[in-house]
């Protein structure tokens, strides 16, 4: 019921349209009675009694009724489709909106295939429900009710006897509903799994080819594919048990007419004429009964899917705007006060304190997994810190409008994601209406302009999803250009140039420096060359800041930084160095 209430929320605004359509449906049903009736008249009057003069009139009546019915039926069917598409589109778009609001935590733990399953398969079930099930249920209930009322007026005692089948029918319907529901939940769960396996297979195609693990992949797929078949069969086995029962129960109505109606008629407790009328209206009772089984199936299928979609809508976002978010301009003073953070039980950052002013560059260096990326992710509020607070321009970031915050920060993430769009579209991702010159300018700063211009279609080259077809270094430079074009107050470069060769990286940083003289910049890098000009270098290890200071200061400390410096310098043999020097 919850699910129906939920879907009603979307359909409600079409109330009037639905009412009109239903009335039209009733008119059409009435019209469809015309031709069998008139046919009967033709047989009686024209053929038996030879009143051939009536034929033309009656024929016109039949044709008129059928054409009117055709037009009305087509109109209300389309009308129902409009309603369902309208509601369907609203649901889909709210799902999409929700999708974009969910926090990183959700995406860290949810498979893409699962979300895809909700937005395709489950949505299709909901569409079917709105377009078909709702109106079929209504139509059948109305027909059933009319028939019952009609029969009551003719002979209420006999009608009651006929309706004795209802409790049995209800029993079968309830059994069906309760037994079939879990099978549909199982199907859609398996659908989700199948989706995930195929989705990962497609995304991971390079690794699969490289390791020649196609057989393993086929094995995984076969398991899920077979399970999906099995779940569908399990479900078919349930409803193939109950649908024939329901069908037969509806069939007993005729049986009642023969045996009970017959005996009553013989005993003169009911007239033969009444029995004939009963027999001619019996389909209006039987058809809705037969239909009820199929409708229950559809409703339960809908329930299984609607559960999943509603669950998706109910997913909490831990990161959302405060009641009255501050809307001030962001200058770029970033302050960490005793910040700690962990993913579940893994502690990643421990009491970090830090203050950066606009125009300053902070470099972060440290071993793999020391919390460098996490630290910058907290600034963008991709996650919220567990303890302490982060202030920007003296305001707690939890009080700043999320959109405003993120618009003023540009991140070039280490995990470069490019969209299947043109290179220009990718660079202009944050500023879709940026002119070509600006795009080219940003690409120039990221040292990407030259290789892009060398592509046959230049900036109009469509790159595949995730930027396939480009080398790692090229992808990184496009991502960097994308961040630069946004012209942020705070620029975060998270290991953005690791796949670029050393001199290019050095050049990029040199160019960037002139660009970010009034911005706050965070640089995560492994190469000393990239970090040494920073105003403050943080060395992170195990979630702590273990060293900080300028390049010279850190060298003097002879700690972690100094060792890294020596190692990187050690790549150059003393002998050759002298020769070169």
């Amino acid at each position: 019921m919850q699910n129906i209430k939920w879907v009603w929320g979307y359909v409600r605004k079409y109330k009037l349209r639905i009412c009109v359509s239903l009335i039209m449906a009733l008119v059409a049903s009435a019209l469809s009675m015309v031709s069998p009736y008139v046919s009967g008249v033709i047989v009686d009057k024209v053929i038996r009694q030879g009143q051939t003069g009536l034929l033309v009139k009656l024929s016109v009546l039949i044709m008129g009724a059928i054409i009117a019915k055709a037009i009305i039926r087509f109109t209300y069917q389309i009308s129902f489709e409009k309603v369902s598409q309208g509601a369907f589109m609203t649901i889909r778009e709210s799902m999409y909106k929700k999708l974009q609001e969910l926090d990183f935590k959700f995406f860290d733990t949810t498979r893409t295939g699962d979300i895809m399953a909700k937005m395709t398969g489950d949505m299709e079930t909901v569409r079917h429900f709105i377009a078909w099930v709702i109106y079929m249920s209504f139509e059948n209930s109305v027909i059933f009710l009319f028939a019952v009322i009609l029969l009551f007026t003719i002979n209420w005692q006999f009608t009651l006897i006929m309706l004795l089948v209802i409790p049995f029918l209800a029993w079968a319907a309830i059994k069906l509903a309760s037994e079939v529901r879990p099978t549909f939940s199982a199907i859609r769960q398996q659908f989700s799994r199948l989706n995930s396996v195929v989705q990962e297979n497609i995304s991971g195609n390079r690794v699969i080819r490289a390791f020649a693990t196609e057989k393993i992949e086929i094995g995984k797929f076969d398991r899920e594919n077979e399970a999906y078949r099995q779940k569908n069969m399990d479900s078919a086995n349930v409803w193939s048990k109950y649908l024939p029962i329901i069908d037969s129960l509806a069939g007993t109505l005729s049986l009642t007419i023969i045996i009970i109606g017959g005996i009553l008629a013989i005993n003169r407790q009911i007239t033969l004429g009444e029995l004939v009328t009963f027999n001619s209206i019996i389909w209006a009772l039987g058809n809705p009964m037969k239909m009820s089984g199929w409708l229950i199936n559809d409703v339960q299928r809908f329930n299984a899917s609607a559960d999943k979609i509603r669950e998706f809508f109910d997913t909490g976002t831990s990161i959302s705007n405060a009641e009255k978010p501050a809307e001030n301009d962001i200058k770029g003073v970033v302050e960490f006060k005793n910040v700690s953070f962990g993913y579940e039980s893994e502690e990643v950052l421990r009491s970090i304190n830090l203050k950066v002013n606009p125009g300053q560059t902070i470099a972060i260096i440290g071993p793999t997994g020391s919390g460098k990326s996490t630290l910058v992710n907290l600034i963008c509020r991709f996650y919220d810190c567990c303890q302490g607070e982060i202030l920007i321009d003296g305001v707690n970031i939890k009080d700043i409008d999320l959109r405003n915050l993120r618009e003023k920060i540009a991140v070039a993430m280490q995990d470069v994601f490019l969209f299947s769009d043109t290179i220009e579209g990718n660079i202009a991702y944050g500023v879709p209406d940026a002119p070509y010159e600006s795009v080219k300018w940003a690409a120039g700063i990221a040292d990407a302009d030259s290789f892009i211009s060398n592509l046959p279609e230049g900036y109009d080259t469509i790159i595949g999803e995730r930027g396939v077809g480009l080398s790692g270094g090229q992808r990184q430079r496009i991502a960097l250009a994308r961040a630069i074009l946004k012209d942020p107050s705070i620029l975060i470069l998270d290991d953005t140039t690791s796949s670029v060769d050393m001199e290019t990286e050095f050049e990029i940083h040199k160019t960037l420096r002139s660009f970010y003289n009034n911005k706050t910049t965070f640089i995560i890098a492994h190469r000393i060359a990239s970090v040494k000009n920073a105003d403050n270098i943080l060395v992170l290890n195990g979630g702590h800041i273990i060293e900080q200071g300028t390049h010279e200061e850190l060298l003097k400390q002879k700690g972690y930084y100094y060792n890294v410096y020596l190692t990187q310098f050690g790549d150059f043999d003393a002998g050759t160095v002298q020769e070169v020097g």
Binding site: P36, A70, I71, I78, Y96, L275, H526, A529
Partner: protein, 594 residues
């Protein structure tokens, strides 16, 4: 090759292809017997069904007026029996049809999925992944109903139709022919609507595909979207795609729905025509015959309406079917030669003989030109050179991700084209720049290429590449569940895990393409020691920017503009004072500027 993106419709053939349908029928072939049984069941059921009204009629017309209670009981008994027969037939029919439908859906999905495993990178690179996904999942599912109910109902309807026509002919030939007069206009109308309907269905499937591709990409790229605060624009794009889909749907559904009123009108017209003919024009027909005929004429149109239904479903399915078969028919650019042998245990001699290669032959943009080299087993070879010089291409050819157009690539003296892809790639470990991890535990990812390895071996591999320390610090250690692409792990950590994965696969030839770019200096230093052990006895090719990784190679090849311009050891190349020397020098001056 032009790439496809979310807002570009994929081209489709515009003619209705009967051969797709025939091909689909091929999938039904193994179920001939089951289908025959099902049709039989349906016929029995329909006979039982037809009997019902006759029994009721008999009761009302004869038994009740006669007061024949025993007769009524007999009739009721027979009627109850028809109900039981009907129910039993119903049950088995549904089961058999579900079996057929689900089995074929499964088979069809297997065919398309297995095919996908043979297709090269370029297939995946040239279209949004969401479009491939919907083909395997949603398109195949959409055929389910057509396969299970559609065909069987069609056969039954055909059968019923033939019976009715035969019966009508038996009653009166002239009247039958007049009744059939309704068919030609119906067929003409259907032929006329068909093209519109087909166009609309195709348009719908394309819009659906675009929408799904965009959803898929939005999910994958959501972190970028959020960090660029671009949700509003994306919602706008989504709204456009969604609206385009809705418009396509409404057009599609209109051309679908229009069929019913047409069939209705034509069938009623046919009946009216029959009345006129029977009553006014043909004089030698008895009243009894006419009445009998009139009662059958409606039954004649029912299966035709049903067949119209089937026809609609089929037209709709064709748009999906086409896409599915298109993928199944895709020619893998790289396939095993007929009778290709298994690659024997690789020793590790690698040879390029005058290799020339272009990704796009027609464009003629040669990436590699006349490359030749030979290395013995156990050598470590480093490739250096500017971006786009062709380093990754050399590696792609060596792993036979592409076939060479000129010259040949030999391993242990065997041309790569003469052995099966699988047997060669299995002995080759490639660590790509893109470190894709699968959803599952850390352990299962390390064991990915060798599921039969023991936990100890996997842990040993992790230790060798210095991944052990961070893994045991994860929430559940090696049993920690990671998401696809390994979200939440840093890139450096992912690189270490995929390194362990490559190591455990125990390849004879190891290829590292920028495999350690995101690993910090200290870990890398430790890794070097492990790496030395790893490289021992294997031939390895390394692409890297860091000198420390390159320096110890047996041979360094400097590649520029598709040719090898220098080769030698680190010392030799420095002494030669060429490109490598310059590279070294500039890196050094960067360091020195510190």
């Amino acid at each position: 090759m032009a790439r496809n993106k979310y807002d570009i419709d994929e081209e489709l053939v515009s003619v209705f292809r009967l051969k797709d349908l025939i091909r689909l029928l091929g999938y039904l072939k193994p179920y001939k017997l089951t289908m025959a049984v099902t049709v039989m069941l349906m016929l029995v059921a329909s006979v039982a069904n037809l009997l019902g009204p006759v029994l009721v009629q008999d009761a009302i017309d004869n038994r009740i007026p006669d007061g024949d209670v025993t007769g009524l009981v007999v009739l009721a008994g027979i009627f109850a029996a028809t109900l039981v027969i009907n129910a039993v037939c119903f049950k088995f029919r549904v089961r058999l049809m579900s079996t057929i439908g689900n089995n074929i859906v499964k088979k069809l999905r297997e065919d398309i999925f297995y095919k996908l495993q043979e297709l090269p990178f370029s297939y995946y690179d040239s279209r949004p992944h969401g479009k491939i996904l919907v083909r395997v999942i949603n398109y195949v599912n959409s055929l389910s109903d057509l396969l299970s109910n559609g065909f069987i109902n069609f056969i039954t309807d055909m059968f019923t139709l033939v019976c009715i026509v035969a019966f009508m002919l038996f009653i009166n030939v002239k009247l039958t022919l007049i009744s059939l007069l309704g068919l030609p206009p119906l067929i003409i109308t259907i032929m006329f609507i068909k093209n519109i309907q087909r166009r609309n269905t195709q348009a719908l499937s394309m819009k659906q595909s675009n929408l799904n591709a965009y959803i898929h990409e939005s999910i994958c790229g959501v972190k970028v979207t959020q960090s660029f605060a671009r949700e509003k624009q994306n919602e706008g794009i989504f709204h456009e795609l969604s609206t385009a889909y809705r418009k396509a749907w409404m057009k599609f559904i209109k051309s679908n729905f229009i069929l019913w009123p047409i069939i209705d009108t034509i069938s009623t017209g046919g009946v009216v025509l029959l009345y006129f003919a029977g009553i006014m024009w043909i004089q030698d027909i008895s009243v009894g015959v006419l009445i009998a005929f009139v009662s059958y004429i409606w039954r004649f149109w029912l299966p035709i309406t049903n067949m119209g239904n089937f026809y609609n479903a089929m037209i709709n399915a064709m748009a999906y079917l086409e896409r599915i078969f298109e993928t199944i028919d895709e020619k893998p650019a790289i396939a095993n030669k007929p009778g290709a042998a298994q690659m024997p245990q690789v020793k590790g001699r690698v040879e390029f003989k005058n290799v020339g290669f272009a990704y796009d032959v027609e464009e003629g943009n040669k990436i590699l030109d006349n490359i030749s080299f030979e290395f013995g087993p156990g050598s470590t070879v480093a490739l250096v050179g500017p971006t786009g010089a062709g380093k990754s291409t050399v590696i792609n050819l060596l792993s036979r991700f592409y076939d060479v157009q000129e010259g040949e690539v030999l391993i242990d003296g065997i041309n790569l084209k003469d052995v099966t892809l699988n047997s060669i790639r299995r002995q080759m470990g490639v660590m790509l720049q893109d470190t894709f991890l699968f959803s599952g535990t850390v352990m299962s990812n390390i064991k990915y290429a060798r599921p039969e390895a023991t936990d100890e071996e996997a842990i040993q591999a992790a230790k060798t590449v210095c991944a052990h320390d961070f893994i045991i610090n994860l929430k559940d250690g090696y049993d920690t569940e990671i998401n696809e692409r390994g979200t939440r792990l840093s890139i450096g950590e992912r690189q270490l895990i995929s390194f362990a994965r490559a190591l455990l696969a125990d390849p004879r030839i190891l290829i590292l393409d920028e495999a350690t770019s995101s690993i910090d200096t200290r870990t890398e230093l430790a890794l070097q020691n492990g790496l030395q052990r790893l490289l021992k006895g294997r031939t390895s090719f390394i692409i890297a920017h860091r000198l420390s990784t390159i320096k110890n190679a047996d041979c360094i090849m400097y590649i520029d503009k598709g040719s090898i311009v220098e080769r030698g050891t680190h010392e030799e190349l420095l002494a030669a004072k060429g490109h490598y020397y310059k590279l070294y020098n500039s890196q050094f001056s960067v360091m020195k500027a510190v």
